[in-house]
């Protein structure tokens, strides 16, 4: 079992940061909903409020790590141009996708949308985390702020989901490969 360094970075970007962020979204939404609703009779404890603050800060870190690693580490490998005379496009995913009418949509729709909409997630969740850090349990006394915060949390999930789904499907069509090979384990014939 081997893996290239570029595939490893792609894995960290997509599964390490992106997928973990998507998983965290549902928890944040539920905690924000029940922790800040007036219909919920009991006041959230200080410990629970502190936990949600740390949880949201972790989500902010994950969201920024996902977009920054995507834009500045993985994306340059994806959009690299082949030198003149190179006909094997396996190491140039964007050009490989654009070389066939059957796959060009993965770039012209998928990547073109993903590369921009992904940034909605960190911007939205940074705002959400700031508002919760500022207001804490007092957010239940600001129903309109609370509604907007929940709306932006849902948006951050949607945008990260669009980016994640297209990222996975594009990498399946034209994987980012190359760089140093990492030997993970030796196979055994059965």
């Amino acid at each position: 079992m081997e893996m290239t360094s570029r595939a490893l970075w792609t894995l960290m970007h997509g599964m390490g940061f992106g997928a973990l962020y998507l998983l965290a979204c549902s928890g944040a939404f539920i905690e924000l909903y029940f922790g800040s609703t007036r219909a919920h009779r009991s006041e959230p404890s200080a410990g629970r409020e502190r936990f949600l603050k740390v949880y949201l800060i972790a989500m902010v870190v994950l969201a920024w790590a996902a977009v920054l690693s995507g834009a500045y580490i993985v994306y340059p490998w994806y959009r690299a141009a082949p030198p003149p005379g190179v006909s094997d496009l396996a190491m140039f995913p964007q050009r490989l996708l654009m070389s066939s009418p059957k796959t060009i949509g993965w770039h012209s729709l998928g990547m073109e949308w993903k590369e921009h909409v992904a940034w909605f997630a960190p911007i939205s969740i940074t705002m959400v985390a700031f508002v919760f850090l500022r207001y804490g349990r007092d957010l239940r006394n600001h129903p309109r702020l609370r509604t907007a915060v929940l709306g932006f949390t849902a948006l951050s999930f949607l945008s990260a989901g669009i980016a994640g789904v297209f990222g996975a499907l594009i990498d399946k069509q034209a994987p980012v490969n190359g760089g140093r090979n990492f030997h993970l384990s030796a196979g055994v014939e059965k």
Partner: protein, 115 residues
């Protein structure tokens, strides 16, 4: 005796809503700036060239950097103005969500191709 925190009780907010409203509107404006810059870079070769801050990433580097700086700048200004105020947060949130909807449309390639 009525319990203070019954299901339908409304307590007076301890913190004015201005700071939260500033963050929400700034996020809407920042996202719209990102989408508008992405469209501008797609439609104008000159804008695209000007937004290439880091060659391997192309214009995406400039689109996102300028949008983030603009978002933070707008946020700081709004925070300074509204921090200790109570503002019409319903209308401000509505404006932020309208900007958000427009931003989503403007990043969708088939919509961008209409321009």
């Amino acid at each position: 005796m009525m319990p203070q925190n019954s299901a339908n009780s409304v307590n007076a907010p301890a913190i004015p809503n201005g700071s939260g409203a500033a963050a929400i509107l700034a996020a809407g404006i920042g996202l719209f700036a990102l989408a508008a810059l992405a469209v501008a870079a797609d439609k104008s070769a000159l804008v695209k060239k000007g937004l290439i801050f880091y060659t391997p990433t192309g214009a995406l580097s400039g689109v996102t950097t300028v949008a983030i700086l603009f978002w933070i700048g707008v946020w700081i200004v709004l925070e300074m103005r509204w921090r200790n105020k109570t503002v019409a947060v319903g209308r401000i949130s509505a404006a932020a969500f309208i900007l958000l909807g427009l931003s989503l449309l403007l990043t969708f390639p088939p919509i961008v191709d209409l321009f």
